[in-house]
């Protein structure tokens, strides 16, 4: 079923909308949650929360890309769950992603400009659009989907250490770009 038809079901308050969403994007949502939480049970709860949020927000929302919309919601739910449980040291998945993203933090002597998530998202999008397609896809698959380096390397047909170096160069490039744009966080 096309995304537009599923969204239309939400708008008609038809409960089939959730079943169709799960059929089409259930695995995708589970994978994103698992990549962050590394816990099936917690991922399952996040996926259900995501469907509930979709039900609550459509209408009035009518997303252009249902997959990106679901992904954004489930990332938010997953990271919230991660943060709430972080003190208890329950999760390890997001630790790695967050530690890698530390490298993107610009130097403190940059021009002061507080960036909220949306503004930062726009800047990162601008930077991504300057990249060649494969690099852009690798960055998004690693840091938005949270896919493992080993999995990505296998898909791209390169060795994991080669991909690790490439991702390092990309993070370095993002840091320089944000410094040039005068962003501090």
């Amino acid at each position: 079923m096309e995304d537009a038809q599923i969204i239309e079901l939400y708008w008609q308050r038809d409960e089939d909308a959730i079943r169709c969403t799960d059929d089409k994007y259930g695995a995708f949502c589970h994978r994103i949650a698992m990549n962050i939480l590394h816990s099936y049970q917690d991922s399952e709860e996040c996926v259900n929360d995501t469907y509930g949020r979709c039900w609550d927000t459509m209408p009035p929302q009518r997303p252009r890309s249902l997959r990106a919309y679901l992904g954004t919601i489930i990332r938010n739910f997953s990271i919230s769950r991660y943060r709430s449980a972080h003190a208890q040291k329950r999760f390890g998945g997001a630790e790695v992603l967050l530690s890698e993203l530390e490298e993107c933090v610009p130097a403190p002597e940059s021009v002061q400009r507080t960036a909220d998530a949306n503004a930062l998202g726009e800047l990162i999008s601008d930077w991504l659009e300057e990249l060649e397609t494969e690099s852009r896809v690798l960055f998004i698959r690693r840091y938005w989907n949270g896919d493992a380096v080993k999995l990505l390397a296998e898909e791209a047909g390169v060795r994991p250490n080669v991909l690790t170096k490439r991702l390092h160069r990309l993070r370095d490039g993002l840091r320089r770009y944000l410094e040039k744009e005068g962003v501090t966080v």
């Binding site: 990271i79 998530a117 930062l120 999008s125």
Partner: protein, 187 residues
């Protein structure tokens, strides 16, 4: 601070996310590298072989002289005499080499038959091939063009002649006549 980045990345544009989900990586297969090396090696060997046979005139495989494009081991070497009935190209050009242009010429197989002349016209003879020739099993009338002949003896109906040709023998004609000799004159 990296949490802010996590949230920032969460907010990247939907079209970028869609593109990433639908993208299929071009696999950097390792075999391609080896295939490239093998192709380079083969090319080097072929060019080296050509250089050795064409420029230095060395011939390691006399029987394959015409394949190597060697000037002195061309198609007329003892082992490589052409036997095909149809014309074939002989020379070094089939290897696409960059050596000095060699002579390219066609080799034709000659055939001959004897026949009685029925009619001697302007530019042609109408003959009946004698039994025993390799082309016609039954006596039939065959037109023999004489236009292209440099030398044509006087031929009259009833003469017995020998016709040499390099072209094709059809049911009622031949092409590529190169020589006609009178064997017996009509008495």
């Amino acid at each position: 601070m990296s949490d802010v980045f996590f949230d920032g990345i969460t907010c990247i544009r939907a079209e970028l996310i869609e593109e990433a989900q639908n993208y299929v990586f071009r696999r950097h297969s390792r075999w391609k590298r080896y295939a490239g090396l093998a192709a380079g090696f083969l090319l080097t060997v072929c060019l080296g072989w050509n250089f050795v046979t064409v420029y230095l005139g060395w011939n390691f495989l006399p029987g394959l002289g015409s394949m190597s494009g060697g000037a002195e081991t061309g198609a007329f070497s003892d082992n490589a005499a052409p036997t095909a009935e149809s014309p074939e190209l002989v020379g070094g050009a089939d290897m696409g080499d960059t050596a000095e242009p060699e002579e390219i010429f066609e080799v034709f197989t000659e055939h001959c038959f004897t026949a009685d002349v029925l009619e001697a016209g302007e530019g042609y003879l109408l003959v009946v091939p004698l039994p025993g020739n390799e082309f016609w099993t039954v006596a039939d009338r065959v037109t023999v063009p004489t236009d292209g002949l440099a030398e044509l003896p006087q031929i009259l109906p009833g003469d017995q002649i020998e016709i040499v040709f390099t072209g094709e023998a059809a049911s009622d004609s031949v092409t590529g006549v190169i020589e006609i000799t009178v064997l017996h004159r009509q008495k």
